[in-house]
Symmetry: C2
Subunit: 421 residues, 2 copies
Amino acid sequence: MSPYQEVKAEILAIGDELLYGQIIDTNSHWISQELDKIGVRVVRRTTVGDSREAILEAFAAAEKRADIILMTGGLGPTNDDLTKPLLAEYFNCEIELVPEALKAVRTFFEKRGRVLTDLNRLQAHLPTKCTYIPNVLGTAPGMWFQENGTIWMSMPGVPHEMKKLMEDHVIPRIKSNFELPIIYHQVVKTVGIGESWLADVIKDWEKELPPHIKLAYLPSLGQVRLRLTAFGDNFQNLENDVAQQLQSLLPLIDKYVYGYNQDTLEETVGRLLKNHGKTVALAESCSGGYISHMITSIPGSSAYFQGSMVPYHNQFKHALLNVDELTLQTKGAVSEETIIQMAEHIRLKLNADYGLASSGIAGPGGGWAEKPVGTVWIACSDGQTTVTKKLQLTQDRMLNIQLTAIAGLNLLRTCIIGQTE
Amino acid sequence: MSPYQEVKAEILAIGDELLYGQIIDTNSHWISQELDKIGVRVVRRTTVGDSREAILEAFAAAEKRADIILMTGGLGPTNDDLTKPLLAEYFNCEIELVPEALKAVRTFFEKRGRVLTDLNRLQAHLPTKCTYIPNVLGTAPGMWFQENGTIWMSMPGVPHEMKKLMEDHVIPRIKSNFELPIIYHQVVKTVGIGESWLADVIKDWEKELPPHIKLAYLPSLGQVRLRLTAFGDNFQNLENDVAQQLQSLLPLIDKYVYGYNQDTLEETVGRLLKNHGKTVALAESCSGGYISHMITSIPGSSAYFQGSMVPYHNQFKHALLNVDELTLQTKGAVSEETIIQMAEHIRLKLNADYGLASSGIAGPGGGWAEKPVGTVWIACSDGQTTVTKKLQLTQDRMLNIQLTAIAGLNLLRTCIIGQTE
């Protein structure tokens, strides 16, 4: 028998604007992920509107199902925000001024040069049965209740305020209140191989996984994440166990692995360029500037990103990038001959170590039998060699742009580490 | 008294992967919006895992609250997908082969050159009390039940399959089953003015709105949507009533209005360029290719997008764009003098009617007292005049990139229609 409690949680999002689809509830998903990481089992997510009956009914139903009830929203100072008065009603207690909370709200406004109104002051009045949890990023405090063996936590619906409360207070408090299992997650991020191919490559390894380590395939556009989750009672042991499994996994798939956990492909490429002291320049046709955007979205990218050109028409591929006119006429813009020149010439033009180029038919128009929509050439040149790759993508323009960018960044990655096929 | 029924709906999302935060439930939000549009009131959204008890309990609770229960997920052919057997159990009926459904599944696989397995064949077995609703984009059929005055609809969790079923079958069926109020929505899309400024400009107009027309402010990054919703019993009348209100609203805010309903700013700019027979070229520094990406994300943009350059360093602003070296040295890259040259020169270089340029400090590093992070210059040149604008944005790199792009596209828009300030 497991020495751990199975701890069940329910997430309760409150607000008419959610039910009517006016705003997206990203909070519930994020809370789900955070609870999963610490071994708390989410058994239900519920969204109700600003209705007394619905909220009270949801409270009572959640209390029957869960050990922990995490609420977001309904904490504004106006009359349509009901969470606080209904919690007081549900727990049969008064709402009183909490001096510490008033001080925090006052400081919040003073810092911003604003005057505290009577309405703002109400934010510091809390149910007497709750523990006041300070919200340093906003004016609605968190409220923590422990009643009849159940933990209740009410948080504001503003995502960054809720996240800060969760990280600083709620997760640590949950951990200290329960004997949670120790869980260790490691995510291996792959690119350039489909889910079923990947599964086939690692199936023998997967069969040999010990029972306390689970594997999940998490596919996203052009990428597959492999998540290893180990359960046990000693964090260090789990970390070692997973590391040992990775030692046998990585040789099977190392050319597809670009990072771990929160790493993104554009970060990884940026880090590789920086670590190798190299720079890159781009000539983007069908990707229309999207690869440049991905690269420059990373802070500090000016250290390795020289710049780019998006010559969307043949005349500019010639005029700006010196792509041979005869090549463009005889082979076309979407050809290996053209993409090689684009990659080589942008590299020289912008004095970069690597030149990365894309040219293709993003669609939905523009394709023909020989070069249907979704035909894309990418190339990466380092001055010595130029590696090219032909992609046959989809019918969808935005997908084709995104998939070209991922394949392009991955081609650059493999060029930098010298692992091109 | 209203002649309409208040029709209540509950949305039920089923799947462990949702509760554990492995995938985001975008379905419930989308369904909320669609139901809101036709005047059905969503009273609750519930997410449960792949557990018999939890699903049956959710069925029973939803039936008490709602006239319509829309379910997504749990329809795969494997054992962990429980929605279908539990619906049969709940409605006390058998699951039998539906020949029409089998034919559809068979056709689906044949079209893709794949063999129908026994597992796939199971998809065509449905509860006898349901009406089979064909899913042309996937293999799990929709199931429609009408039991004891409640409508139940089970749909696959794959978003595009669910949306197609909703649009083709569920929305029309709901409309024909209930006397729904007639609702007419019109969304006015504005850019370049903040929510509170906008509210101040239109407050007198807003006070005079007739009671059957409601106004909602829907802010998003750099933009505010104004949604007018009219309730009544005659669609044509509502359309006329809203059109009349718009006639008095638009003169107040016309320079901020770029479109209606589903229009996006990049589509609007593209349409304006096309209609005026004009082209654009971009010199992007701090926006790093993002404006080019937004423009080229629109199908057919090659008709008006000449191309762009992203000269990320001063040397390339000079070498590629002929920005005067002395200007760069004395005024800096983030200056009105530089941005004017960038806009004018890219226009000439790429033989375009308009040249649009950005240069700024996206952050998080690179700012100083005189030019803090978030300082951005944009300019648009048409060969006669060059309009410039200085923006003072945020501390966040990605926000600054996105806000620069929106402001840049809006500057181009105002230049095309001759409405610059």
